[in-house]
Each structure stands twice: as structure tokens, then as C-alpha cells.
């Protein structure tokens, strides 16, 4: 069947099967490769994208169910020149090692900060707890997110 979705602002039309996942559509049909396939079960968060503004694990979403929706991937929130505050924060804090989980973390972080004027570190960690990282031990990911929050003028509550 045919579905129409808006991906990073561009209208795309894709032929899908009943069991094609959104992640497969993004990676295989649309050649957008920042969402990664780490488990295909919604457990690792590496395939996190925004579906109509909400973060989801795209490996668990059947493509035909999102006909008419808007999808945002890391490509969609990365400026053409320069980097967004979360990207800068993670680079400066050393929050990136192998990089496979990085796009997912940035999407979760982006969604978290987009609705906040202030936050607690515990709230931040909860928002990122659906994303697994095996390299960093998470400390420098949190540090990177805090740098980003500072740049965006979002305050940390005690």
C-alpha cells in the first residue's frame, strides 16, 4: 500500500507492506541513516525519531499506521551550518564514543528541552532512560545535555 508522510519537512510517498516498520521506511526507502537499528524491539532507543512531535522508537511503529504524519529525524534538527546546542554539548562534554546511540539520545534530549523552561537532573535522566549507551557510562551524556540547557537558557531546578 502507499503512504504519504512528511519527513523533515519534505512530503514523501512510499510503497509499504503491512509489516514494514517506520524505521525500515526511513533507512531503506528514504536513505536517511541517522536512526539506527540496535534491537528492533523498542528496547535500545537508537532508532528514536519524533512522530508528530513526540519521541517514538521507530522500529516498533508499523509504517502504514503513520500515513499522513510528520516525522522528524536528527537530520531535521541539525542546522545546515554549525550544530544545535545538544550536538555541541555532547561534543564538548565528551559524551560521544562509538556514536551509534548518539542520534537517539539527541532526539530524546531535543524533545525533553523543547517543552521546558526549567528541569531537574532526575527529570532529564528519566527522559533519557529509554536510550541505552554501552560506551560512555552516561555521565558525559548528562554533562553534555547540561551544557546544551545552559546555552538554551533552560535552568536546572534543585
Amino acid at each position: 500500500m502507499n503512504i504519504k508522510i512528511k519527513v523533515n519537512g519534505q512530503l514523501r510517498s512510499v510503497e509499504v507492506e503491512h509489516n514494514t516498520t517506520l524505521l525500515q521506511v526511513i533507512r531503506k526507502d528514504l536513505n536517511i541513516t541517522s536512526p539506527k537499528s540496535g534491537c528492533e524491539k523498542g528496547e535500545c532507543g537508537a532508532c528514536t525519531v519524533l512522530l508528530d512531535g513526540k519521541p517514538i522508537t521507530s522500529c516498533l511503529v508499523l509504517a502504514f499506521t503513520v500515513d499522513g504524519s510528520e516525522i522528524t529525524t536528527l537530520e531535521g534538527i541539525t542546522p545546515k551550518d554549525g550544530l544545535n546546542p545538544i550536538q555541541k554539548g555532547l561534543i564538548n562534554a565528551g559524551g560521544i564514543q562509538c556514536g551509534f546511540c548518539t542520534p537517539g539520545f539527541i532526539m530524546s534530549g531535543h524533545n525533553f528541552f523543547s517543552k521546558k523552561e526549567d528541569f531537574t537532573i532526575d527529570e532529564l535522566k528519566r527522559a533519557l532512560s529509554g536510550n541505552l549507551c554501552r560506551c560512555t557510562g552516561y555521565k558525559k551524556i548528562v554533562d553534555g545535555m547540561l551544557l546544551a540547557a545552559k546555552e538554551m537558557g533552560i535552568k536546572v531546578k534543585k
Partner: protein
């Protein structure tokens, strides 16, 4: 004028690959496609032990979109996965030895089509009773693998001093048994490789790996072709931790065989389930540990039987076991040592390399013993370690005299201070009086780690680098070790820049490939900085010599003495001659050799396989961990509050990257200690996903505090040793000792899941 400071080493320069990873544009193997590319799949054994009676692939072959199905008969070269003993076939011929062992290889237009074909392959087997544990393996009369006379894949002894005599007269003897389970690498990117014949018939593989040279050997072996007709190139690699040392050979062999047969590019990537069920993992272990102490708390004797569950084939077990045996007594000078180490065969997926390589299991036993001794002797757990740990001139269990860069005592002292040990201990006691259901405790554990492959590394102990200078004064390099996320490209760029005295930004690391440098062994054993860093230094030294000779020939200088390359300039007797860029251009015009391929051999190591004596490793790095934990007596769940990992690994090239290694390794250690539990049924791994095999999330890790101690190692590049593995290795005993401190329950089995803690409390 602003003072120029172009120092690269010792600075937290940003990773050279950070921006592309932050943008999500780095290409991992699953991100690449080639025209006409097919996908690959494997039909695997559903049973742990048995004989194939009949295999029927006719129905599967007829599925639309299936291009080929191969069995062992279709392998043009040898049916072999070469590692150490060469006992593992790629594909089952007749005898099945573990669940998931590959039987047929399938190429098709999509993964879904391949799945359908796999379901139509008919296999008739005669099942045998499998050997499923170390204890069963010891009892079993029949060998799992008939190429061996029994189930001992490898045996190493160490015999030193008078063990029996010392145990007869010792003041205190502590004797316990310890067990540890598997640990899964859980790299976020599963195994994968793309194979295709590129120009001139070169079979080329793009993949995720720790040793392109192993893959090259594997592919040449199964194809029956020249090594020089196989090229292996590294993609951005999404974590490895030992799990991509030897097994990528299997992935590469499969992709290459199917590509050769179909004459089309093949992509072979594993699903998470297939990866967990069929790839290597940390060996389960069983240890009988006897320690003898004198009345002052000095460790005077050790007698250990150490068993590793190697699985169905030997793969890397011989080397994993060796490292475990060498490190079995910990960083302590003890004159009387007997160690018997065995790697046992079982009908399970072969165990292999995982960060720490046979040491976390035995360190768990050793450091728990040390804690028990401290209590029985009325000594503080920190004191007993201070008393026994290596000092200058100490002798290891292999008889090696330690001469320089011995930081263990410093790690204890600095760690203790940072952790605020005495105060914290008092505070936990106060906390425990106040709370009925929550109990806190502090724990400590020390360890040492031989850097590099050591004496059993044999012909692999070498490093190779290619360094190329361009006429604009910029530099490109390549080495034989790989980047898998740890930051090697960045650290080696720093070493290259510092060696030339030029800015870090002028140095560029290129893709690792078998086409650029010679076999430098695997990227393991915390060796990349040391081995490749030194290889780069050799190449840069030669290039600087070429440039200096050129300046002498051109009469720019009247002698070749006192030439310095620093601050992006060249100096003679402290006086600036010209900028490095100017010199590079002049040298290019003057046809100077601007490329050097180098070779570095580490200092000799020795080892006598009969009694386990010799200088096992070139040097050692050291760690002492301090942890505070909280146990909830309603759920028996343990939470780390603060972990201070105090580590000495020579001089530090990049502090931020080093901290990243410490924190990441610490968290894998926390997972090993508390959560990560593999469950099998009839040899089949049931915990094949992240919901059943649970690794730490951001909420599970507590506060991490890396503490770095620097102690220069002269032979190391800019004084560095190696450090990738140690942060994981001693976390289990540190946490186990803290749990004992909190609730008085001693744990002898890793992981300390709530069920395990409950079982121990219940039996008390």
C-alpha cells in the same frame, strides 16, 4: 604577541569524529549499499549436540528471491574459522556442537525472504546429551570435540615457592568457591560486514571489527585464495569491547563466500537475538581459591584452581585463560603460588574476548578473599591492600621483578582520599542505624593489568604505521589497530602532532585498512595507544630525519645536531629556521621522501609454559576502586551511590577520553556485578534481548568519579601505558565487598541479582 601553544599530548582535544557522529552522518556498515546488493542469512542448529542425518534445502531454494544456499560442500577453500588452535569449522559438516552453530548460508533479495527460506529448510538429527557446564565437562568421559583427548581445551600452571609447606604453618587460611556467569558485550551496533569483489578481483570487506587482519586471514582461508587478494576496510564501528575481536572473521567469511558464489555484493548484519545467541561472550567461571596469611596480614600463599567455560571450540580461550592465570593473585607480592587454570569444552556457543579477558572473574574471587582476610585479621580492607601491594622491586606470581611505573599504592592513597573513606564509612554506619530497610556500605578492591598482548601474544606483538607528509605541511596517518569508539584516531592524532611539533588540526587519521599497513595484530589488550603510538613515533622520527638531511644537503644548516620541531616551526640551536609548512614545500620541491611505513616491536617478554615463570608483560597498569552502595531489604536491589575508580596507566594523552573509558568501563562493571544475567535452557540462550538481558540504563549507575594517577612509563609513547579494560575489571568485588559491609552477607556468585542476594541471606 600571543604565546603559541600547540601542545597536543595531555590535552582534552575533542574527538576528531565527534562532529560527524553528532550529526548522525558517520557511516556504519548497515548504512552502506552497493548496486545489486543481496542480503545474507544463516540456517543454524536448533540443538546443542548431535549428528546430522539429513539436510534438505530443496523447498527453501525454490522461494522467490532466494539466490543461493550454501553448505560446507560449497566452500572452495578450507571449512575453518582460524583463531589459535584452528578447531572450529565455519559450517557444520556432520557433528553439531552448540545451539546456533551455522549449517547453511543463504543469500536473497531481502531479510524477510531469507527468513522464509530458513523456515523451509528440513533438518533431521540424532541428538546426544549435551555437556552444559564446567562441572559436567569435568565429569564427562566423552570429549565434546573429538580432536581433543578430553574436555580440557587448554591448561596453564603456575608453580612458585613452597605452597604446601606455607599452608601447613599459615596463621590464617581462607578457602572459598566462586562462580561467575556470562557477560554479553551488548555493543549497540550488532556484528556486520559487506563483501564484494572490487576491481581486479579483490574480495573487499567493509565492516565493524577489532582486527581487519584476522578477517583477511579467515576470508582467504574459506575462499582458498591469496591473502593479497582480500582487502578488509573498517567502517565506523559501533562499540566492540572484545566482542569484535575474533568473531568478525565468521561474519566476513559468510559474506565473502556468498558474494563469491553470487557475484554480487552481500550485506550480512545480525539481529540482536542472533548476535546474543551466536556470538562470543565473557567466559563463565568456577574457582576454588585458597589464600594463606601470616599474623600481620601478609599474603604468604595462594593455591587456585581456575576453570573457564570455553564453549564448543577453543577460539580465544587459550589466551583468555592465560591472562586470567597471570593476574589471579592480584597486585600482590606473594612468594608461594600454585595456580592451575583450565579452559573447559562444553556444548555451548564459544566464549571469547571481553574487556578484561579472563581477569574480571578471578579478580572477583581474589579481592573477595582479601576482604574476608582483612575482617578475620581485624585489619581495615584498605590497610591490608596497602600492606600487600606491589612496590618497586616486588615480584609477580610469574617471577617478574617490577622496576618502573608501579602506581598501585598511589591509586589506593589518592582513591581513599577522594572517596573520603573514613568519614564515609562513619556516615554509612549512622545511616544504617537510622534506616530499617535501607542499608549502606562501602567497598574497596585493587587490581593490576598487563598492558599489551604479553608473552603469549607471540607473532602478533608488533605495530605498523604509515605516515605521510604533504607539501602544505599537513600530515596523514594510518595504523593497523582500529577505532571502535574508544577514541584511538584522536589519541594517535595527538601523538602524531606532538611528535612533529605541529598543530593537532594539521593531522588527519585515515580509514584503517589491510591495504595500508602490515598485520599489526588485533586491537585488544589495551594496546592501541602503546603499540600504534610507538609505531607512529618511529615513522615520524624517520620523516624528521629525511627533512633534516635535506636541510643539511641544501646547506640550510651546517650540521644535523640540535634540530627541533616544535610550535609549527623548525629550530636549530633554539633559533627558528623556518615554519614547518615552508620546510614541507621545500622538501617536496627537493624530492625528499615524504612517506614512511614503520614497524615497532615492544620489548621482549618471556614465559615458560611448564611452571608459568617469566616476564609475562612489558608493563602493568593499576586500579583501586572505592564504592558506596545502598541495598533495599524489601527488594534486595543494590544501587550504586558513588563509585571512585582510581587508575594509573602511565602518562595521560587525553584526559577527557581517559575519563570516558573509566566511566564507560565502570558501568559495564556495574552491569556485570548487578544486572547482567544470562539464562540458558538445553544450551539455548533465552536472554536474547535487552528486556531479558538488562544492561544499565542512565538511572542505574549512581555517581561516577574517575580519579587519575599519572606515572610515566619510559617505553610508552609520551609515557603512556594502556587503560581500556581495567575500569570494568574490579567492579564486581568492589560492589560485593560493599554489600557485605552493608548487610553482612558475603556473595560468591556474580551477578548479585536480587534473587542471588536473597538466596544468600535466606541461607544464613
Amino acid at each position: 604577541m600571543k604565546k603559541e601553544n600547540i601542545k597536543s599530548v595531555g590535552r582534552s582535544v575533542k574527538r576528531i569524529d565527534a562532529e560527524e557522529k553528532a550529526r548522525g552522518t558517520s557511516l556504519y556498515v548497515d548504512d552502506i549499499k552497493f548496486p545489486g546488493m543481496l542480503y545474507a542469512g544463516v540456517f543454524r542448529s536448533p540443538i546443542a549436540s548431535g549428528t546430522i542425518i539429513k539436510l534438505d534445502i530443496t523447498k527453501a531454494k525454490k522461494v522467490k528471491g532466494i539466490v543461493t544456499i550454501l553448505t560446507y560442500k560449497d566452500i572452495p577453500g578450507k571449512n575453518l574459522v582460524p583463531v589459535v588452535f584452528n578447531d572450529q569449522p565455519l559450517l557444520v559438516e556432520k557433528e553439531i556442537r552448540y545451539v546456533g552453530e551455522p549449517i547453511c548460508l543463504i543469500a536473497g533479495e531481502s531479510k524477510e525472504i531469507i527468513k522464509k527460506a530458513i523456515s523451509l529448510i528440513e533438518l533431521t538429527v540424532k541428538e546426544r546429551k549435551p555437556v552444559l557446564s564446567i562441572k559436567e565437562s569435568l565429569k564427562s568421559k566423552k570429549a565434546v570435540n573429538p580432536e581433543y583427548k578430553d574436555n580440557i581445551l587448554q591448561y596453564y600452571p603456575i608453580e612458585r615457592g613452597k605452597v604446601d609447606k606455607i599452608f601447613k604453618k599459615a596463621h590464617l587460611i581462607i578457602e572459598n568457591e566462586y562462580e561467575t556467569n556470562y557477560q554479553e558485550h551488548a555493543y549497540l551496533e550488532t556484528q556486520g560486514m559487506v563483501a564484494l569483489e572490487e576491481m581486479n578481483g579483490i574480495m573487499t570487506l567493509y565492516g565493524s571489527m577489532q582486527c581487519p587482519f584476522y578477517v583477511q586471514e579467515g576470508v582467504a582461508t574459506v575462499l582458498g585464495t591469496d591473502y593479497s587478494k582480500v582487502s578488509v576496510k573498517l567502517m565506523t564501528t559501533g562499540g566492540a569491547f572484545g566482542g569484535k575481536e575474533d568473531v568478525p572473521s565468521i561474519i566476513g567469511e559468510i559474506a565473502a563466500l556468498l558474494s563469491k558464489k553470487t557475484k554480487r555484493p552481500i550485506k550480512f548484519t545480525l539481529s540482536r537475538e542472533e548476535d546474543i545467541e551466536t556470538m562470543s561472550k565473557r567466559h563463565p567461571s568456577y574457582t576454588k581459591y585458597r589464600s594463606a596469611f601470616d599474623k600481620d596480614g601478609k599474603l604468604v600463599g595462594v593455591d587456585i584452581d581456575y576453570y573457564l567455560d570455553g564453549g564448543a571450540y577453543s577460539t580465544l580461550s587459550p589466551i583468555v585463560l592465560w591472562r586470567g592465570v597471570i593476574h589471579a593473585i592480584g597486585p600482590y607480592d606473594c612468594g608461594n603460588v600454585r595456580i592451575n587454570g583450565y579452559a573447559m569444552a562444553t556444548n555451548k556457543v564459544p566464549s571469547g574476548a571481553y574487556r578484561g579477558f579472563g581477569t574480571p572473574q578471578i579478580i572477583f574471587a581474589a579481592e573477595t578473599q582479601m576482604d574476608i582476610a582483612a575482617e578475620k585479621l581485624g585489619l581495615d580492607p584498605v590497610k591490608i591492600r596497602e600492606k600487600n601491594c606491589f612496590k618497586k622491586g616486588s615480584i609477580t606470581s610469574t617471577g617478574q621483578v617490577l622496576k618502573e611505573s608501579i602506581g598501585i599504592l598511589d591509586t589506593i592513597k589518592k582513591g581513599k582520599k577522594s572517596f573520603n573513606y573514613s568519614e564515609r564509612k562513619k556516615n554509612t554506619e549512622k545511616f544504617n542505624k537510622k534506616h530499617k530497610n535501607l542499608k549502606r556500605g562501602v567497598g574497596v578492591a585493587s587490581l593490576f593489568y598487563g598492558v599489551g598482548l604479553g608473552a603469549r601474544g607471540g607473532p602478533l606483538q608488533k605495530g605498523s604505521a604509515l605516515v605521510s607528509l604533504f607539501k602544505d605541511g599537513s600530515v596523514q596517518f594510518s595504523v593497523g589497530t582500529t577505532e571502535m569508539g574508544q577514541g584511538m584516531y584522536t589519541v594517535l592524532s595527538q601523538i602524531t602532532a606532538e611528535s612533529f611539533g605541529i598543530s593537532f588540526e594539521k593531522v588527519h587519521a585515515t580509514r584503517i585498512s589491510t591495504e595500508k599497513v602490515s598485520d599489526s595484530g588485533p586491537t585488544v589488550a589495551s594496546r592501541a595507544t602503546f603499540i600504534s603510538g610507538n609505531a607512529i613515533k618511529v615513522a615520524v622520527k624517520r620523516l624528521k630525519k629525511n627533512l633534516t638531511e635535506f636541510m643539511f644537503k641544501e646547506k640550510i644548516i651546517n650540521s644535523m645536531k640540535n634540530i627541533e620541531f616544535k610550535n609549527n616551526n623548525v629550530y636549530k640551536n633554539g633559533k627558528k629556521l623556518m615554519s614547518f609548512t615552508e620546510l614541507a614545500m621545500k622538501a617536496w620541491l627537493g624530492r625528499v621522501k615524504m612517506i614512511e611505513a614503520s614497524w615497532y616491536l615492544p620489548p621482549e617478554t618471556t614465559y615458560d609454559i611448564k611452571d608459568g615463570q617469566g616476564d609475562a608483560y612489558v608493563t602493568y597498569s593499576y586500579v583501586t576502586n572505592f564504592v558506596e552502595v545502598e541495598i533495599d531489604l524489601r527488594t534486595y536491589r543494590t544501587q550504586v551511590i558513588d563509585l571512585f575508580s582510581s587508575e594509573e596507566f602511565g602518562n595521560v594523552i587525553n584526559p577527557q577520553l581517559a575519563e570516558g573509558q573509566i566511566e564507560g568501563g565502570n558501568v559495564q562493571g556495574i552491569g556485570y556485578a548487578l544486572f547482567e544475567n544470562t539464562v540458558l535452557s538445553k544450551g539455548k540462550i533465552l536472554t536474547n534481548s535487552f528486556s531479558t538481558y538488562t544492561i544499565p540504563t542512565i538511572l542505574d549507575v549512581g555517581e561516577l568519579h574517575p580519579v587519575i594517577v599519572e606515572k610515566k612509563f619510559k617505553e610508552g609513547p609520551f609515557g603512556a601505558k594502556g587503560m581500556g579494560e581495567m575500569p570494568l575489571m574490579g567492579i564486581a568485588p568492589t560492589i560485593g565487598n560493599a554489600i557485605y559491609n552493608a548487610i553482612g552477607t558475603r556473595l560468591y556468585k556474580v551477578p548479585f541479582t536480587p534473587v542471588e542476594v536473597y538466596e544468600e541471606i535466606k541461607d544464613r
